[in-house]
Symmetry: C2
Subunit: 223 residues, 2 copies
Amino acid sequence: MDRADSPSGARRRGPAPEYSLARIADAAVALADAEGLGAVTMRAVAADLGTGPASLYRYVGNRDELVEAMIDRVHGELDHRGVPSGDWRADMLALARGNRVLYLRHPWLLDTVESATHSGPNAIAYLERALGALSVVDADPTAKFEAIGVLNALVVMLTRSETATASDAATALLHARFAEAAADGAHPHLAAALTDRSPDQTPEDRFERIVLRVLDGLIAPRA
Amino acid sequence: MDRADSPSGARRRGPAPEYSLARIADAAVALADAEGLGAVTMRAVAADLGTGPASLYRYVGNRDELVEAMIDRVHGELDHRGVPSGDWRADMLALARGNRVLYLRHPWLLDTVESATHSGPNAIAYLERALGALSVVDADPTAKFEAIGVLNALVVMLTRSETATASDAATALLHARFAEAAADGAHPHLAAALTDRSPDQTPEDRFERIVLRVLDGLIAPRA
DNA sequence: CTCAACTGCGAACAATGATCGCAATAACAG
DNA sequence: CTGTTATTGCGATCATTGTTCGCAGTTGAG
């Protein structure tokens, strides 16, 4: 019942595995990048590899495991060397920036946050980096875990709002509903806020400003 | 192609609708509360109402619309009167607290954050309240929207971690992987952080402390 | 050479979201 | 009162998807 592919030292019996978890995950990632996570069906991935869906189950227990493999695979794209630099603020900002570009490059990652916990090797390596960055801070580990978690949630939220373009149907609907609510007289503050648009700020600036502020709030002087 | 149920003034022709969006949403909410969002299939909801799946489509365009109705329905459980009180910090904390209990009562809401945007009437009413609370703050509307969004993301994340009990399979797996990584020698900071457990703090305290800190960081003195 | 372990995968199954069409019903027009 | 029409309830049915079964083919071990 074990998986094909797994590096169990010596070559086992039977034919050598024709595919690999990495190849399958790559195909799935390509599909998700192009058409969203919903397009990642076992059939579609298998078809892209030129085989049938059943073959994939030699490498993956189920679809969730495939998604997990995808997640960890793209997490490997990040290069966080030099992150425990001593300046924890800069370090955390760098980690956040890295996650941001990762989410922008693979927007489907934003859809996996709530279903699958990112706990693959690369995600754990990331956590190790973050803890390393915070090792110079005098706070108890629980607070550090919290800070990392909050930071990640923040990055997800910010990137999600960055990804929501007006061309998107859901976003258009949202705006329409806002406008409607603002016009019905029962939502004065909303109406005011919508008319009083304050403008252009690059996404990057917005991102860094908010991340830094939250960081400062989180790791405030001990009470 | 219009929906049954919708209050189009005078009674229309044909038989009076036997169900209603509200009743259907209630049944679905009950199902989700008991067995999770995955248990909310058209068939299951219909069966709970004593009918077939096709009937629901007179009241709902598709499953996503049903989930949206569920979301807005439970958002109506919150009573946020007295929230624009003048003390914006207290107001925002109260709103956050309200959302927290809502998420704890209906954990499946945490699974809807990324798929469906919460933009029903009750969600918009919530937004209006929050904007009202922040109306006494001198900041541009964009920043206020951001603050509200960040606050919500924060509440979601904190409540999610509160919901993840050790009895949960996913959480158990996560802890196992952490322990494994901590033991392999390549993750010293993780190992240190895991052994150095700092203890007991009520979830409520944790929640309020973090929310207040982030709020203070967000609405920091203008730069 | 034989056997056992292993892989690839076509065929099939169950569950689910969704559609179609028709019978039943009730307001409306005359 | 009758015929028309808009509307509802819903059984039957379809397409899609995740997943399993079983078997043929392959390869190393004894």
